[in-house]
């Protein structure tokens, strides 16, 4: 009898509800470094003080596998109530009916990546872009100023590369997930190319503009160093790379530990030197459609996306901008970032982006390792993406 009682007790304990109280909402986010995590915790405490009947449980994700964890949480029917998403991911979750609809009066261009079928599924939390960082000392050392055209830039790259084996013209990102395509697309867009048609229904990677952009990018890689983003930025800060493509976090590091050389942030430009286009990205906040605490979740998203809260996060991160327009730069470098952000675009939202992104990165990598010409490789990638888009359309009809 005692054994039965013991077994019953074990069963009771293992099956008892150890879940959280009904007032707790789960918030999954990506800010876990020593600068930003305290700010996230402070913002959450402020929110809880403002809403004493709501508790927030914060879970940290990493960019290395955060997307996968979110996918698995939805597959396991246990998603967080509120989640931070990369701007390219919203359509993927929204198209599968997994996100709650939202409303916002923020500028339309900031909401565009979070739209699917004319409905808004996420709110921008902070915005960022990619920009060119030039080492002015290295440029001066090879008798060049800041390049005005693509030909200038290629010449600068080649001259720096000839300085010796410890110097590289360009920082060419190796095929790191979620990163490589953001380095290449500004060149593609600045050359008049597109990844997808305006309505997102077909690929445009086989256009002459896209092919020329890839050929040009490969030329830069030939006189550059192929490495991970982290190491490329280390090399740049050591003064061994002429120019790299990076985000605002590099500017923060350069300000915190000023290098021994002068540097300048320059917006992307077209081959002839006109204003180019860069990658528009950012962090978005979304709510799970199946959340049992929709109202509380909406309150948290509304709170976190307030201008001052978003600004607090940007200040802690040392980069990024609140999604409220009328941005003002505190110095010439931040002003350059703002100008670049104003000339940044994102791809038409598509649920297949994670797949398409990988196809683009595979194609760039194949070209970097000379597994075909830029034209052959992009034509193949274009066909593959079109096949996926077609297959998705057929599945939707079914």
């Amino acid at each position: 009898m005692r054994f039965l009682a013991a077994a019953g007790l074990i069963l009771f304990i293992s099956c008892s509800n150890t879940g959280q109280d009904p007032n707790t909402i789960n918030f999954w986010q990506f800010w876990s470094d020593t600068n930003t995590k305290p700010v996230i915790e402070r913002l959450v405490r402020e929110f809880e003080r403002e809403n004493p009947d709501i508790n927030v449980k914060v879970t940290d994700l990493t960019w290395a596998n955060g997307h996968e964890k979110l996918v698995i949480s939805f597959a396991a029917k246990a998603p967080p109530d509120v989640m931070e998403l990369g701007s390219d991911w919203v359509a993927e979750f929204a198209a599968n009916g997994l996100l709650a609809e939202l409303e916002s009066g923020l500028p339309e261009s900031y909401l565009y990546p979070a739209m699917w079928n004319d409905t808004l599924y996420a709110l921008p939390w902070m915005l960022d872009t990619r920009i060119l960082y030039f080492n002015l000392d290295l440029l001066g050392g090879v008798g060049m100023g800041i390049p005005q055209t693509w030909d200038d830039m290629a010449e600068t790259c080649a001259r720096i590369d000839r300085l010796g084996e410890d110097y590289f013209g360009f920082g060419c990102n190796s095929a790191e997930r979620h990163r490589l395509y953001k380095k290449f697309l500004p060149f593609l867009w600045s050359n008049g190319g597109q990844v997808l048609s305006e309505d997102g229904s077909s690929a445009r990677l086989d256009s002459p503009e896209a092919i020329r952009a890839l050929e040009y990018y490969l030329g830069l890689c030939d006189c550059g160093l192929i490495e991970s983003q982290r190491r490329l930025e280390e090399y740049f800060r050591e003064g061994r790379i002429g120019f790299v493509v990076s985000g605002g976090w590099l500017l923060r590091r350069l300000k915190l530990n000023p290098p021994s050389f002068k540097y300048r942030l320059v917006e992307f430009f077209t081959p002839s030197g006109d204003t180019g286009k860069s990658f528009f990205g950012g962090e978005y906040l979304a709510i799970s459609a199946d959340s049992k605490k929709l109202e509380a979740a909406r309150k948290l998203v509304e709170f976190l996306t307030r201008r001052e809260k978003s600004q607090a996060l940007c200040d802690a991160a040392g980069f990024g901008f609140p999604p409220y327009g009328n941005l003002e730069g505190t110095d010439t470098e931040v002003a350059a970032e703002i100008r670049q952000l104003e000339h940044s675009i994102s791809n038409p939202p598509t649920p297949l982006w994670v797949d398409i992104e990988q196809d683009i990165e595979d194609a760039i990598e194949a070209a970097m390792f000379r597994h075909g010409t830029a034209s052959e490789i992009l034509t193949t990638a274009n066909k593959a993406i079109n096949a996926k888009l077609e297959s998705y359309r057929l599945a939707e009809k079914d």
Partner: protein, 288 residues
């Protein structure tokens, strides 16, 4: 009867765990492998063997299989041989053998993520291994070992051999300890030296340990993942893409879980066949 009930009751939690977390997923993933189930969509159509046919025609999957075979056949002989020699030397109680024993084992208990990050830097342009090659007058790849299709997989294999040796040294040592000491003493009396004793006594009597080490190492090598995830992500150009990473990438990243399940079953069959062949070749029957 009462005793059996007690046994069953005590075993119930484990049996429940085994059924829920091992047996059910095993069968459910086989069912998924016959469908085009997508994680986020949450449903899938029955495809029969469609995923298996698609996999065999997928050049990336076949490349991942080839890389995995390279990895398995490139690391196992060296790992086993080096571990055996080191175990024989340690068993001889050479001066400082306990320090060696601990030192060899340290990589095995260090988190693979940490080791992989350290080796990522060592293999990079300007890293210590890269610079050693330069000092030796060799020409390392311009962008470092992990950024070259020709060297990335070999670099990871070399690291893996270094990591795995310590664990197998311990297993071989345990096998050597189990050999009756009288045999060694008699051989010594007859004038047999270290190599003669090792060749004629130790190695033949380590047959079952060999089988265990090789099967264990084969299964482990076929499932190589963390090193790839941390160091290369299967790149450059799929030259380090292993089958388990392929499964992860297709199933978890892209959410094509039906396709990934089929790949997992093909890998399962390969490991099963290899394990059976290895047991047969080494002729081990219930000895381990």
């Amino acid at each position: 009867m009462r005793k059996r009930t007690k046994i069953l009751l005590f075993a119930t939690p484990w049996i429940a765990y085994f059924l829920i977390f091992w047996i059910y997923p095993l069968f459910y993933s086989f069912y998924l492998s016959l469908t085009d189930f997508q994680f986020l969509r949450g449903d899938g159509r029955y495809l029969g063997l469609g995923n298996y046919v698609r996999l065999l025609r997928d050049p990336i999957f076949t490349a991942s299989l080839a890389n995995t075979f390279y990895f398995v056949f490139g690391t196992i002989p060296l790992t086993t041989l080096i571990a055996l020699v080191l175990a024989l030397l340690i068993a001889e109680k050479v001066p400082g053998h306990r320090i060696f024993q601990a030192a060899y084992f340290i990589p095995s208990i260090t988190a693979m993520v940490v080791i992989a990050l350290i080796f990522y830097n060592l293999y990079s342009r300007g890293g210590y291994i890269y610079m050693l090659f330069k000092l030796a007058g060799l020409s390392p790849p311009a962008n470092g070992f992990l950024q070259s299709e020709d060297t990335a997989l070999w670099a990871i294999m070399a690291m893996d051999i270094w990591v795995a040796i310590g664990y197998y040294v311990l297993i071989f040592l345990a096998g050597i300890k189990a050999i009756p000491t009288e045999l060694f003493e008699a051989a010594r009396v007859d004038g047999a030296g270290f190599w003669r004793r090792s060749w004629n006594i130790t190695i033949p009597l380590l047959k079952s340990t060999f089988a265990f080490v090789i099967v264990l190492n084969t299964i482990r090598s076929f499932q190589i993942f963390i090193e790839i995830f941390v160091m290369t992500g299967g790149r450059p150009f799929n030259s380090t893409l292993t089958t388990v990473f392929f499964i992860y990438e297709r199933g978890i990243t892209r959410g094509d879980i039906g396709y990934a399940s089929a790949a997992a079953y093909i890998l399962f069959l390969i490991i099963l066949i290899f394990s059976l062949i290895q047991f047969k070749l080494i002729n081990v029957k219930r000895t381990i």
